[in-house]
């Protein structure tokens, strides 16, 4: 066997493995790095390969230090600093690629491999999808195989052996991983604040609405939240998911009233206690929402919320807000009532002022139209306006033409093509101009039941805006002017209400039934993944353990259970690793010894140094009558002895051979 002194550094075969592992780690990150960073990293890996293949000298520090500084400056410029999540990951990644340029001893290799594991796991900061989870197996296995190779200083190992060893180690680690994952005590809070940019790129409702905002959101097929109802889901036309309530208009943008968010007018309601001014009758719908992170504080609930999660607050406008922006997937229980009156007793002076406010010197035609309605009762004003939307040639479209300085005039009298935000904001404008307190409510309308798991998916494309008007004795009443133009939007959803030529996200459309079915199945898988893998937090952990054992667990119990199970599984594994082979091999040896015994009774003894094959040929010469059987037995014995896997059937067959002698 080849023997080499241990001072040998890893050879080129190890380097190829290292570079391959590095490339797979880079592949995880490529979508989340600036292109130049990925290119520079690939460049260093290529350079290191050339150094090894062509016998170039390794670059000296005098070359590497300026490159390092340049890379750091480049990162600081591209990412506007060095300390956010994106910048630190990019910096770490590029430094690791630089480290390759001075990697040649075993120690360097091991450090690069360890940091490679770390960098690979960092990819989960950006993406925790099923696909990412599965692909993660590639770099982890490659890095482990490289580590195996580096720990074999006496020559190159066969690549299949390395891959097999790495996969075997990781497979054997799976049960331990599972035990730890389920039982390791989870913390409800982060240990410290995380960088601001950790949550960039999340979509959802904004706290303001300029015309065009929501139609843009409608183009996103992303899931906004998923809902499990206790009992039957409500009818489609009741699925108004209440979000930000917009009261302030400056002629261009509707905004949330800063008042209601800055703590004034916020109610902290107890469980089973209704917000002030809200009176409900009839049944209450209870449901659990799993909200995708959107980096805002809105918690979406059906009109009107009657119970809110303990960590949330409710404003006077009945917006439910959480204490912190929703930055991780959040699960909450809520209930709503569809028969309600809100503030029927009257509005305060301040509320009246806010809900009648209009920008000055804008939209003269709209103001004149509203002026002409002023002599009617508020109910009639509402009806007149809705009649106008219904009877005049208004078109519901996802791609409305641009509007000028007097946006409402342009829309109501010229273009007449718009999306829900056009209808709701022009309606509220008209009402206010006619002296009826009104406000815009944004949120989502509808949702789709996934038959696979019987939960509802609400997508960003379901985003909607409607209006609320305040009427004497009736309080705030929901009016959806979009319904006057396109009743299908409310009854059937956005896909049925626009022409197919319009650019809805593929999966919000109705024209691919098979694709939709697959999509729904896939969404059910994703939902399970979100609920049980990604959303596995303290609550879920305790819930699962209660379900499995019927007991409530404290974290001390968790630790004890963890240790007990880990010990048990390690003992089991040790047993299989250290015993199984020996027992079977011993069995083979015993059978062979029986064969030797039989022959020695016939006067033929095996010499001490004589191998089984030599002995067999001698035995054949001495006992030609048994020649065939002796050769068969010897063949079976040598095959079993050197086989990597031994089946019980093979042992049995061998035993029968010996017995038949």
């Amino acid at each position: 066997m080849a023997q080499i002194k241990s001072t040998h550094n890893p050879g080129n075969h190890d380097l190829y493995w290292l570079i391959a592992s590095f490339a797979s780690v880079l592949a995880l990150h490529v979508a989340y790095l600036h292109n130049w960073v990925s290119l520079v990293m690939a460049g260093f890996a290529g350079w290191r390969l050339m150094v090894a293949r062509n016998g170039w000298v390794m670059p000296r520090l005098a070359i590497l230090i300026p490159i390092t500084l340049a890379a750091a400056i480049g990162i600081a410029v591209s990412y506007h600093g060095l300390f956010g999540r994106d910048a630190s990951v990019a910096l770490f990644a590029i430094m690791l690629s630089l480290k390759l340029m001075e990697t040649h001893t075993q120690r360097d290799y091991i450090i690069v491999i360890f940091l490679g594991y770390f960098l690979a796991a960092n990819a989960f900061l950006f993406n925790q999808s099923i696909a990412m989870g599965i692909f993660m197996a590639v770099p982890i296995t490659l890095l482990t195989a490289t580590l195996v190779g580096v720990n074999h200083p006496n020559g190159a190992l066969d690549w299949r052996f390395k891959a097999k060893t790495a996969s075997m180690l990781l497979t054997q680690a799976l049960p331990l991983m599972l035990i730890f994952f389920v039982l390791f005590p989870r913390l409800p809070q982060p240990l410290w604040g995380v960088p601001q940019d950790a949550y960039s790129g999340m979509t959802g409702l904004s706290d303001n609405m300029a015309l065009g905002n929501i139609s843009k959101l409608s183009l996103s097929g992303a899931t906004a939240f998923r809902v499990e109802f206790q009992g039957k889901p409500p009818a489609k036309n009741q699925l108004y998911w209440r979000g930000p309530v917009l009261t302030t208009y400056d002629g261009r943008t509707w905004r949330i009233n800063s008042y209601s968010i800055n703590g004034i007018g916020i109610n902290n309601i107890q469980k089973d206690q209704l917000p002030e001014g809200l009176v409900t009758t009839g049944t209450v719908s209870k449901y659990t929402v799993t909200l995708e992170p959107h980096n805002k504080q809105w918690l979406l609930m059906l009109d009107m919320p009657t119970a809110i999660p303990p960590e949330a607050m409710i404003t006077a406008e009945l917006q439910v807000i959480s204490k912190e922006p929703v930055r991780t997937r959040m699960r909450y229980e809520a209930s709503s009532s569809f028969n309600y009156t809100l503030q029927a007793a009257g509005l305060s002076e301040r509320e009246q002022r806010i809900d009648l406010q209009l920008p000055k010197n804008r939209n003269p035609k709209t103001l004149a139209l509203a002026e002409s309605w002023k002599n009617q009762s508020p109910e009639n004003i509402v009806n007149t306006a809705l009649k106008m939307y219904r009877e005049e040639p208004f078109v519901y479209t996802l791609s409305p033409p641009p509007l000028g300085e007097n946006a409402m005039d342009d829309f109501l009298f010229t273009t007449r093509r718009g999306f829900c935000e056009h209808y709701s904001s022009s309606f509220v404008y008209l009402m206010r101009a006619a002296g009826v307190p009104a406000r815009v409510v944004t949120g989502y309308l509808g949702g789709e039941i996934n038959p696979n798991d019987n939960y509802m998916i609400v997508r960003q494309s379901d985003a909607h805006a409607w209006a609320e008007v305040w009427l004497q004795n009736r309080g705030w009443v929901r009016i959806d002017p979009t319904g006057a133009v396109s009743p299908d939007r409310i009854e059937l959803g956005v896909a049925e209400s626009v022409n197919d030529s319009e650019a809805l996200p593929l999966l919000s459309r109705r024209d691919y039934p098979l694709l939709r079915k697959l999509y729904l199945q896939w969404d059910a898988v994703n939902n399970g993944w979100n609920q049980w893998v990604l959303g596995y937090n303290q609550d879920r952990q305790l819930q699962l353990l209660r379900y499995l054992t019927g007991n409530n667990f404290s974290w001390q119990d968790l630790v004890i259970a963890l240790f007990a199970l880990v010990t048990a599984s390690l003992l089991a594994l040790s047993y299989f690793l250290l015993r199984s082979q020996k027992i079977r091999r011993d069995a083979i040896q015993k059978i062979y010894d029986q064969f030797l015994n039989k022959l020695s009774k016939a006067g033929l003894t095996r010499y001490k140094q004589e191998g089984p094959v030599d002995f067999s040929s001698r035995a054949v010469r001495r006992l030609p009558a048994q020649a065939k059987l002796i050769v068969q037995i010897t063949d079976a014995y040598t095959q079993l002895r050197y086989a990597s896997k031994i089946s019980p059937a093979a042992i049995k067959a061998f035993k029968e051979l010996v017995n038949s002698l």
Binding site: A121, P153, R186, L191, T328, L570, R641
Partner: protein, 315 residues
Amino acid sequence: MSSAKGWKKWLRVARGNPAPATLSSRYIYILPTRYGVLFACILLGLLIGSINYALSLGFVVTFLLAGMAVISMLHTWRNLAYLVIDSRKPAPVFATEDAVFEVIAKDSRQRARFSIAAHFDDTIPTYADIVTAGESPIRLLLPTEKRGWLKAERVTLFTEFPLGLFYAWSYVALDARCMVYPKPATHHLPLPASPDQGAAGVLNSSSGDDDFAGHRAYQLGDSPKRVDWKASSREQGLLTKQFQGEAQSTLWLDWVATPGADNEQRISQLTRWVLDAHGLKHTYSLRIPGIEISPNNGEPHYHRCLEALALMDAT
């Protein structure tokens, strides 16, 4: 020379006497390597990150790698456990040369072993792989200083395979000793004249002029006439042609007649002469205090003489 330091001197040593030593579980020790500690630190970092960012898949990777590390401990342990360690009788060497001990590591558990290393204390380890049910020799060098028997020190067998996170080791006391012959004198005194040679009237029978007897490596002071220039032109190096007188007489290497400042120098000189006489295929005899080896030639005689010199009590 037992150089076990600190707590390690309390650890068990498997004895290779009389049967080969088996590294059963009671002889195997295991500790994390410094890379193992570093790996643990990296995992701790991953764990804290996963907690802080509530990364479920971060937990998955952290626990998977931790599980792998723990399992690699079992694999490292079983890579070394139940090896059977034997040794071969080492070939004699001259003092200051390296003694070569050959450790035979044999698998007794039907599994292939990888990166099994062996070393004496303070020497560089040598690695070997062992196929299933096979054996592998591991050559260990030990520098020699004095003539006489050199007992093999305690051998450390260790492995860090497969991941280098754990170091499993075992000590074996080999039942092996190496014969160390005295270091031959470097200066070349001519072989001593013997009474019979004197009778034949030839001063030095080893360099008669009658018959060509072969070549030896050129040494300073050889007559240029005797250099085999044809051989040197064939790039075989400088060779001196040797001739022998016809009288095959016995050469007496006598302690009493050997020059030298002290006993060790005399032994050294005698060793040189034994080497030279053997190289020239002389018949020679060795006479040292307490031992007289009758005239003879050939390999066994040569080794007998050198061994007598190596073991001579020179005080």
